[in-house]
Symmetry: D2
């Protein structure tokens, strides 16, 4: 922690600040310049609230000098993590494709879609059995029945399953049916839940909160990592901005920035990121071009009658077209789509 | 729902749109103007995804014409709700004051603070036993022991207890120790939890999410109300903006806007709203001047050594000063602080 | 400037950083801790781009330690500035009230309004002759004719004139007709214009940009101050947030925060801040309660037929009611409205 | 305009609303449903302030049903505009590359860079002679001397010149030295200036404001178009979000969204968009993959000693690497880089 002293602070103020820092258990180094004194406080605990020092008489600014996260950082591991999901690597040279409907609706629907996306090159089947909905009056998913249908459709087509858990009470079902547990944007800072995920045996894909900074997102990953689950991947799904013409604003820059700060893989979700079908393909292309480790895309055999998010789901033929385009882009930057 | 047709749409497009609307179960009224056709679709279900219509050929815009919430709206109840908490009314003529430390730390601390704030006119003791913290390495609260200490300190001083529950597993303890259950900003859209709160016998104070719109906030209240708990109050605690000089930006306009849209009481939290002690008093004054039904304020007998949020906690003498000032302002606008 | 070195940086990296800092003309103080080295660089020019150092191998973080503004800061002048406008002080004990229509429309309109607001206690007549409008097809103001009408209406009623200049070409007219030159939110960072304002003989009221931070706002004030005009006041008029139910989100916290950082007076504009008539009064009360040095409010004798912003203009009787309420609140916090 | 009437509005309210609409000159169509009445008001002037109707007793919501811009819209021209700049087409099949330093510093610097980027495939030389700077104490550019040096360096290497004008007083110089006039983000809503640009004979590249919506951006383009200059292109350069790890957040989704709403070409500026050199290349790739009509990139022969924005300027060798990568991506989506 660096404490910058006000230009007009008295020697008494400075001694007072140093005393408080010692009381908090810090070692203090003092640099006295012509106009300004700077104090370096060594030994900051990760939970120290810097405002405690900001308020002291004579203090101008206080800066943390360490990232508040450790296990998620490049300082901890200076190479990209590769997460193995039953033989499918995430975070390596290949770009993984996850595809499927927003919600599992019935056996035929999920079966038809799984077969289609598998043939086109997807390695994961996505789909929701528990749906977080803004309105209490909206369709909330099929529950365990949905998970069963999804597992079967995936197994029949050689796919892995990624699906969302909304709270800790659903984790037992996840262990039974899922290969990767997806955590939604609105749960990104549900700390007790994150801690429970640290005890799961399945990898976790943590979506970015609607207005979360990169640091907050990595802090949430840190909760899971520090509770024992080392297989965490991140997912950019769009942030909230002032724009109302699109559902969210997909932050493509999250991809290179997260790669620089963290060793964790990052997946991009253009379906939620842009929120409307006809612009999903350019955003998927952009994500792959920027270096995403995977994309997760909504596909539906009959989007016009989908029970949720039909408007952002690709038609099967559009998915094929997207695959064709992103394959060429992956090649262009030295990566591969299976 | 109103569907505005594109100026250059063909008659075939328009017939196609009408057919889809009929298939979705709507009654359709058509208004044909010189330049533009507008379709009114009657009978929209609350969970209808308007993007399903936006995507149709020939559609320019789609607008919902009903609020997505009902029980929380002024349409449902066109007078302010008054919530009775064991004899203390919230939402009526009086402005209620809730005060106490961020975290319950030990018996002496909570006892001293409770006695002080009760004497100065607070009617509720606030304090946390379960603390949601950004860092997994930070102090997480005393748990049930904290609740016990808080209950005793409140009872000894004639105060009610308001405290935060972080997930559904803590609700049983809340029923035993709390008078009002506080839900934090990061849980505002934790829908399964909201539904569980609908079954609680205690009133709920729902904090606004960091980047939530008024509509989303009222939709979250709707989850609780529609699950059976009619005693819901809202709490403005600051939103996220681009400003980094303050922890949050307290949105004072939430007070008159929520009062216009909803019958639910609204409490203001200047401590989290501004995040730094020396500006809590002007923000508390502003909240009361704007018509808040109550304020919730952090007070600590020794803020410099508080286990959390010391920097935004008032010293006891500052709390007395604040009470003096807000009383005069409440009087000035025809309200009262006990 | 403080340069925090990465934990795994080599001694060679550190020497490289120090060399670059010397080349940029800084004195460097080195503090070597157990885990981390921190370099203090003294003598930073105000325009130094810290990213030049962030990019060097081995650098973890770079922090400026001085405010980029000087003349606007409390370090430069540690008491509040009082600006005298022809005998009316702004920034002292009194809270000044500025009122009038959005646009000057004709002689009768501006005369009637001026008379009304003067009687009710306003000291300034506000009104626009040059209107910045989002649409090129909207009413753009009466130009010089509007200024003449406004000057006359003000003189007839003992009021000062505050009105907006949209660019440097209008400054000559401002010198002739205005007492305070208002600069709109969208011009806050129009730097050439700010420099011209530094040469004006009239005081300037600088509105905050829609998404400006406090630092950026004060930097814009610095442009004017450093170009020679010492009479600058600030105006909070609402910022952009995610909320669409109100036109803007009025940031009441700007009042205590600006007072802590700067000696310049700050005026609040609840009309633009909330954007709808029925909520202007509570926001005006909140602004005065928070310590604003003045309020600027839109009033119209016939808002339903106003040429602009009628929806946020108070009826004359509402203005009287507002004055009554804000007077009591000013009293309650030891200030005065004439 | 569609006016939705409140569910509990009386017949008298409805008649009152209709009367007001007639008074404003609208034709009114009434649709009476079981629960709700909707009024269609035909003949809305582009500058009509819908809040004038929102305030009437009995009104629930008011929606505009026409875009406020015309000349910039797809309704006006339903194919992409191609702007010819002295033989270089912008908006067609090719993706144009504009490159050069942030500021023109001296003859040698601009000459060396121009030669390098021309060889690598750029068609435009970018560079600033007038620099808008947040700090009044920062380097403000070489002025006309800079324009001369830039013109010469461009001519020597077969490049076109794009450079920024900060206000109308500089337009005469632009006509003399520039091929495209660049308008900065902070001037996007400087309306008088936009009108002057409508009279320029040179094409204009209009950068998006830091917190501008797509509609506001297109409205600003409309100012220029409606004042007579039909050659307008847009430039996405990053918006402000909560993230502080990057200078701005580059909104890649602007590319497909603007293409859907408008016929104007859109250029992407990854240098300002991400603000730090090592992430410019992935963002440039993403922009081309998403369909941008061009990219504008900062390149400097000695970025460590650049007078401005060195930290986001590519080294010449990095520019070559970028060109190689974006060429392959342009090919992959059926476009071409010369």
């Amino acid at each position: 922690m660096v404490v910058v002293v006000q230009q007009n602070a008295s020697e008494k103020d400075i001694e007072g600040i140093i005393k408080v820092l010692h009381d908090f258990g810090f070692d203090v180094h003092r640099s006295t310049g012509v106009n300004q004194t700077v104090l370096g406080a060594i030994g900051v605990k990760p939970d120290f609230d810097t405002r405690q020092v900001e308020l002291l008489p004579g203090v101008a600014h206080v800066y943390r000098i360490t990232e508040p996260y450790k296990l998620a950082s490049r300082t901890f591991l200076n190479e990209k993590s590769v997460i193995d999901v039953g033989g499918v690597p995430i975070g390596g040279d290949t770009v993984v494709v996850m595809a499927g409907p927003c919600s599992v609706e019935n056996e035929r629907q999920i079966g038809v879609i799984a077969e289609h996306v598998a043939k086109a090159g997807a390695q994961f089947l996505r789909g929701g059995a528990f749906k977080p909905r803004t309105s209490p009056y909206a369709f909330q998913g099929l529950g365990e029945e949905g998970l069963k249908l999804m597992r079967k459709a995936a197994d029949d087509n050689g796919l892995k399953v990624i699906t969302e858990a909304m709270d800790a009470s659903q984790l037992e079902l996840m262990e039974r049916y899922a290969d990767v547990i997806q955590i939604g944007a609105r749960n990104m800072q549900n700390y007790n839940f994150l801690r429970e995920l640290g005890k799961a045996t399945k990898p976790v894909m943590l979506k970015r909160g609607l207005s979360a900074t990169f640091e907050e997102w990595l802090m949430s990953a840190e909760y899971i990592l520090s509770s024992g689950n080392k297989r965490v991947m991140l997912c950019e799904r769009g942030i909230r901005t002032f724009e109302t013409a699109t559902r969210n604003t997909m932050d493509i820059s999250a991809i290179p920035v997260v790669h620089a700060k963290s060793h964790l893989p990052i997946i991009a979700d253009p379906s939620h990121g842009i929120g409307i079908r006809d612009k999903v393909i350019p955003m998927a292309r952009a994500a792959v071009a920027a270096g995403a480790d995977g994309i997760i895309v909504e596909v539906h055999n009959d989007p016009d009658h989908a029970k949720s998010d039909g408007a952002q789901s690709l038609f099967p033929a559009q998915f094929d077209e997207m695959m064709k385009q992103v394959r060429v882009i992956a090649d262009a930057i030295g990566r591969k789509i299976v």
